[in-house]
Subunit: 140 residues, 2 copies
Amino acid sequence: METETQELKDAGLKITAPRVKILQILESSAIRHLSAEDVYRKLLTNNEEIGLATVYRVLTQFEAAGLVIRHHFEEGHSVFELAGTFHHDHLVCIKCGRVEEFSDADIEALQCKIADKFGFELTEHNLNMYGYCPKCQTGD
Amino acid sequence: METETQELKDAGLKITAPRVKILQILESSAIRHLSAEDVYRKLLTNNEEIGLATVYRVLTQFEAAGLVIRHHFEEGHSVFELAGTFHHDHLVCIKCGRVEEFSDADIEALQCKIADKFGFELTEHNLNMYGYCPKCQTGD
DNA sequence: GATATTTATGAGAGCAATTATTATTCTTCT
DNA sequence: AGAAGAATAATAATTGCTCTCATAAATATC
């Protein structure tokens, strides 16, 4: 349980109970993409007395520190995922909400080429595809 | 000024002053991507007495009718653009907000290939790239 | 063209997600 | 251990958007 504190230190954040707890939640979750609410509910389940506002604040700090990545798959609320080792894109099932991750070097390369063409200096990019996952294609 | 009414009819919507005005705004705007607030402000500037709720309602109807496409480039609010003839993706300047549109058949093809691999039946996809446009790259 | 029927609108309350404020508590540095 | 500074909890405020419902307008019918 000492790894989280080290990660926080490396990220330049001070060690506080809420930050450690939230990082643990993110690392131990089976579901990679969690909303602030999700995190908050998990904290409540663990009987942690951490306010929702703190969850938002901490997640935003984690984002700034590069520990997590914020996505907005659907309108109105963000989901967060632990920053992995490499960039990837998402396939989101619009029925069950399942998210598949993938990474494609060819697409990445094409994206850079296009950004170059327009003279843009890229800081971020995301490709989200929406549709029905195999399980949710009810024979249509 | 008769074109808008025809477009509305074709979309199966009744002709009302708010709908015509909002469609005109969208068609005459130099900026292709407008938020509901933007549209509302433009209406106010033109001394139109149209409520914000109506703007939202009408834009949502336009979306349902396929007249406009809703994007959520950044969290928390949508922007709308007139539905063009073909799908395209976006390059968004995170400083000045300028949006460049592009379309790349190779990327589209790769996307389909990936969706196939995962067995997804795609309904929608979008690729947004964020960065600094040529004008906003002030040598750091 | 007038009237009936249906549908849309406007104003403001309401809502959900998120952020700001502020007094208090905790972490770190010495 | 104690001071200084930063982080937290609780609550209030804000934002983007939707709902309600009385009123008004648009199409259908005569």
